[in-house]
């Protein structure tokens, strides 16, 4: 381990390539197009058209407005860059960076594919995966607190305070709701969770391998409860409707980023959508099988079974399989993002006391009972 400097440049280079690839080729484009999808889907739901004009410049080609995110990015960069005189300048600039970085950092432990060219498709395969996710997620309140405090404006301040106590409240149900999974698996490593699901059935779809046992079908009840609590808590963590009180425009204008403009505002915006992507990736990884997609297959030898697309296979099939797994993962994430958007334009907002009641009393108690339900099943049916 000490002669590290001599040995593993390959490891460093692949890690750097994966990092850059995930951030710049996948997450940032995905963020931009989630914003576009949000606008188009909300238009669809409200019987409007939405942005459908921006296409290739100087031509008549509209492409259903697919050029809109690029135009938005250019505008964010070119807009007047104003730091109002009443703010606390250093923290005012620091806050957007702190709001953006944690959601990108969390992605580093989530397996987004199986193997490609003999390299595991996860940036950091660590044993404490899920705890790392929660630890970094708990740091994302600093961007919001600092934005609210440094803006020296009532709306920002109240938005920041509200947002912080909402996020910490739902961190509890987030942390509690996934414990049944780890009771079952006995590991905190996210890569192992997906491998387990690929071999023994997704946690919410136990149709093959060990998943066909009576115990797994009994465990489906607590796992479903976990899934519901976890998903709703992710909505609250990412400040999405119906939990968007920190930026409830009828009460607080824009909440903690009221005083922000141009790129500094854009970073909050990006951070929020990146957090959505991270949250969806987590849901996919924990409950919906990660990169794995079961393919119903019939062969005369084995009969009907689900085939595993293996990225570790040698040669061309392995490469195609690896790419297929990555596409599967981000496809699932995209479906969940569409669900996030659908919910946003369907449900009304909670009142603050209802939100706190839901988090602290309803979810907290359900998650706690759920843990002992799971433990009981595993205890009496070992």
């Amino acid at each position: 381990m000490n002669d590290f400097l001599g040995i593993d440049w390959f490891f460093l280079a692949t890690s750097l390539a994966k990092t850059l690839g995930i951030i710049f080729l996948v997450v940032l484009p995905m963020v931009s197009y989630t914003v576009y999808a949000e606008r188009r889907i909300s238009a669809l739901i409200q019987d409007r058209l939405g942005p459908n004009r921006t296409g290739i410049p100087f031509t008549n080609i509209h492409m259903e407005g697919l050029g809109q995110p690029i135009a938005d990015a250019v505008k964010f960069l070119l807009k007047e860059d104003l730091t109002p005189a009443h703010v606390n300048t250093f923290y005012f600039w620091l806050a957007p960076c702190l709001a953006m970085a944690p959601s990108l950092l969390t992605l580093s432990v989530i397996p987004f594919g199986s193997w490609l060219f003999g390299v595991p498709m996860v940036i950091a395969n660590v044993n404490i995966g899920i705890l790392f996710v929660f630890a970094i997620a708990s740091l994302s309140v600093y961007g919001i607190v600092l934005a609210g405090w440094s803006s020296n404006s009532k709306y920002s301040f109240l938005g920041g305070v509200r947002s912080t106590s909402q996020m910490i409240s739902y961190e509890l149900s987030l942390g509690l709701s996934v414990i049944p999974l780890f009771l079952l698996l006995g590991k905190l490593n996210l890569v192992d969770i997906v491998d387990y699901q690929a071999r023994n059935g997704w946690l919410l779809l136990p149709l093959w391998g060990e998943g066909l046992t009576l115990r797994r079908w009994l465990l489906l009840i607590p796992l479903l409860i976990s899934f519901v609590v976890f998903t709703i808590s992710i909505f609250a963590e990412t400040n999405r409707l119906p939990f968007d009180l920190p930026e409830a425009e009828t009460e607080l204008v824009a909440g903690y980023h009221t005083e922000y403009s141009s790129m500094k505002f854009a970073l909050f915006f990006l951070g929020e959508y990146a957090a959505m992507i991270t949250g969806s990736s987590l849901i996919v990884t924990l409950f919906l099988g990660g990169w794995h997609l079961p393919i119903p297959w019939w062969s005369s030898g084995a009969g009907f079974h689900f085939a595993l697309v293996d990225g570790a296979a040698p040669g061309i099939p392995g490469i195609l399989g690896g790419l297929f797994n990555i596409a599967t993962f981000f496809g699932k994430v995209a479906v969940l993002l569409a669900f996030f958007i659908w919910v946003r334009w369907t449900l009304p907002r909670f009142r603050y006391d209802q939100l706190m009641r839901l988090g602290w009393i309803f979810f907290f108690e359900i998650a706690l009972v759920n843990i002992f339900l799971t433990a009981g099943i595993l205890f009496y049916l070992p």
Binding site: K79, H86, S262, L378
Partner: protein
């Protein structure tokens, strides 16, 4: 091993670097801000700012933050418990189940007390 954690360091550097460079690029490319007194006052829906910009807020927020720390510690203990649970059950050590049950029961007393005293009731 520690080697597994180095990519996280790389990712952190890239993430913070991206955020910082986005800000720098917008300073270079963006229009310099033209100041005027209106832009330099806090936004209050068109009215002049009134009173202290950082109003004192309800003690409930502190209560929630403190209770959060306490229950967060409870949750932290549950992760090692979850990891070793099935090993203990397989080795016939039922203590693992009852130990956590009693730990959580002790904490539930505090939780029920906080609810009964209205610490988590935001309507009041």
């Amino acid at each position: 091993m520690i080697k597994d954690y180095l990519p996280i360091l790389i990712q952190a550097v890239v993430a913070i670097g991206f955020a910082a460079s986005a800000l720098v690029v917008s300073i270079i490319l963006g229009k310099a801000g033209k100041r005027n007194p209106t832009k330099d006052t806090a936004y209050e829906c068109g009215m002049l700012p009134e009173g202290n910009a950082q109003p004192r807020f309800s003690v409930k927020f502190y209560q929630v933050a403190m209770l959060f720390i306490l229950f967060d510690i409870e949750i932290v203990f549950m992760y090692p418990w979850a990891v070793v649970f099935r090993e203990f059950v397989r080795a016939h050590h039922p203590v693992i189940f009852w130990s956590m049950l009693s730990f959580v029961s002790i904490l539930t007393v505090g939780y029920v007390y906080a609810i009964k005293k209205g610490a988590l009731d935001w309507k009041k």
